[in-house]
Symmetry: C2
Subunit: 482 residues, 2 copies
Amino acid sequence: MIKREKVKDLLVTTTFGKEVIVMGWVKTFRNNQFIALNDGSCMANLQVVVDFEQTPDEILKKITTGAALKITGKLVESLGKGQTVEVKASSVEILGESDAEKFPLQPKKHSLEFLREIAHLRFRTNTFNAVFKIRHHLAFAVHQFFHERGFVYLHTPIITASDAEGAGEMFRVTTLDFDKTPRTETGEVNFKEDFFGRSANLTVSGQLEGELGAMALGEIYTFGPTFRAENSNTTRHLAEFWMIEPEVAFADIEDNMNLAEDLLKYVIKHALENCKDELEFLKNRLLEEEKNKPQAERSELNLLEKLHFCLDNNFERLTYTEAIEILKRSKPNQKKQFNYIIDEWGADLQSEHERYLVEKHFKKPVILTNYPADIKSFYMRQNDEEVNGQKTVAAMDILFPGIGEIVGGSQREERLDKLTQRMQDMGIPQDELYWYLDTRRFGSAPHAGFGLGFERLVLFVTGMTNIRDVIPFPRFPKNAEF
Amino acid sequence: MIKREKVKDLLVTTTFGKEVIVMGWVKTFRNNQFIALNDGSCMANLQVVVDFEQTPDEILKKITTGAALKITGKLVESLGKGQTVEVKASSVEILGESDAEKFPLQPKKHSLEFLREIAHLRFRTNTFNAVFKIRHHLAFAVHQFFHERGFVYLHTPIITASDAEGAGEMFRVTTLDFDKTPRTETGEVNFKEDFFGRSANLTVSGQLEGELGAMALGEIYTFGPTFRAENSNTTRHLAEFWMIEPEVAFADIEDNMNLAEDLLKYVIKHALENCKDELEFLKNRLLEEEKNKPQAERSELNLLEKLHFCLDNNFERLTYTEAIEILKRSKPNQKKQFNYIIDEWGADLQSEHERYLVEKHFKKPVILTNYPADIKSFYMRQNDEEVNGQKTVAAMDILFPGIGEIVGGSQREERLDKLTQRMQDMGIPQDELYWYLDTRRFGSAPHAGFGLGFERLVLFVTGMTNIRDVIPFPRFPKNAEF
């Protein structure tokens, strides 16, 4: 028996005349003769030529878009345009029919909104084949990058009883019954009766646990799902998303910036080298889409140019204080075009400001450092020098064109007294985080880390514009379909 | 400024005389002179020699177990036993002290139970350094295996509204308040008001969504957290664990068995090649532990021999029916030593039976196939032949010595009529799973897949005996600490 071969492999085979078996789904069927067959192994289709005089009618009429076929035939040189090989079918077996009247994916252009409604079938389109192949390659490159550098992949917990970090609204995880909720004597919900014996949530970040790993194993990274129960219906937020969080002992904020820049460049390079067809397709898709826009709104660089531009330039590094000066003097600030006018040092930067810096002012990725302590988390290291008599922390955010913040990180506060003082100031309970503080009690050391939102990275590399289109089954308010 | 070097690299350096900076934690400090320094990069320590006459007393007394140090000094050839290099310190800086009275990890043997209580610090022990390094390497090898074969890594959802699969008890995910629970007119909890507009849970498996991916992309795998809200306090169960679930279009149960056997051998081989020191350490740890056991209870093979044995032998493949015959005739069954006596075909196999087959009868990994339909899931493909007039399904479970079931999989039922009939028989709602059935409506095709419990794999390769010791922060009933 001969083995089934993948379309991807056959398309580059030149041993013409050999007998092959290939299976896949019909994209189109022209003139009762030419099947474009796709098996998911690549975006390209294999042309299968059917001898319609020798093929029974009941088979021919079942060769419809979406049907699954098993083709036995001979691999021959193709005289058609756009392909070098085709298969001359000696037998066509219908594995699974597809009723042309009912199959939602017709051979025409569908809107991304429509495809989102049928996320279980959108994998069969060229666009989503490309997006999820690139997503795969980016994920693999992330693992490879850290593996090569000796980092340990650490699975930090998804369910956590710690709600002290304050990174956002959380989902409760429970086995308690709303109808028979156990109560304490004073009438409160008795979480001692819950599965974990206490109130538990879905994690918003693996960082704190990641630090525990780094303070022993040296260099770790997480790559797992994180959650926000925020009611935001935007093109940039999900309730469930994947995050990459490295944490490095004996590293400072400089090491941290270098690591993040190296990582981003490594994975983008990997995608450029391994996803040529997919990126080419998405580039053209974007160009096509922009044709409907006024000239002024079109991108200056196409997708491939944008990716190369990121690789070929050093990210611009500047302090928050320098950024505020630039923003204050900027046209949109002076002309009051920003929704939030930058008046003074201490303001939290909005997406519009981040994008101005990246897209208009520097025209390349930017790393902002040394933010005001007041607008950042408790665990960030306090800088020795103050700015205008105000405290700053050794934070670093990386801003990308079209995306805004793609990485947020910092050197961590390793000094027990400074850390506990700040927790006290911010009302963060120290008892609950005794294990976090233990790393500062027993052999504390400088260390740093960051979080990279994986979907934002996939957005950037694929050029897609809605985050719901770069994760297989997006979760957002009122949606947990599939 | 010279750069900090890792202990792992220094230990294989032979450019003696060069100036180095190294940072790490003190394991031991002997004779006010010899520091065993570990930075997590490997299990081995670097010997640092302190000139105690030139070093201030207040520094010397802070060189305690667990303290973090920055050492500047010269790399020299070591005359001591068990090492080829050491560092002659010219300066010792205390990065973080560690109060010897309070530091829980004293330089002596601690029980695994005790270390589980301080999971945030146990990474600093040799045992857990080894376990989590091996865990990393196994995870990386899994990704590499599938990447090399052209599989797409698919992130299936963690939060799901589908509760139809019946793989186990689930955790509810909610933002509803127990104190102000919204109710419908008839008094039921109104989940329309919940975050996702419906009742939602943590996933028990990504398989069903994985099938959607495979039926378009051809070959996918998941590697993510899955959950069971089962009140089991055993050494083999966790409430949160990681699972690997490949799904392959156009594959049958034979392909599926081959894929699973290839995967297991690939990752075990990777660990043997890349974790020599760690496996050697764990092998000796086990031998040491077994010294306290009676001869009869000791393992016949040591850890390394056991791993090699798995690589060097084909897994024994037999049907459930054949296994039942063997078990019926077995000594422990005839002598009624099993807790569950095997009387007849149709019995669900217990762990004791699986282990008898693997450890006593075949003495190698076993793949059991073609189980009775009645004890397996709705989505498994129904075999054409019946056994004793009873239906069987194309299921396959892989059983490993000491572990029992490590892989569970099947060819999937691709025939819409057979699938819906079975769902009806088993009371599984078809409306809710319309998207799953759509893959059978539009271009259905034979396909197969399996689930591999990652922690069980890590248990097997590390030789650890409690699953809580192979995941960084285990979740189980009444425990969500850290």
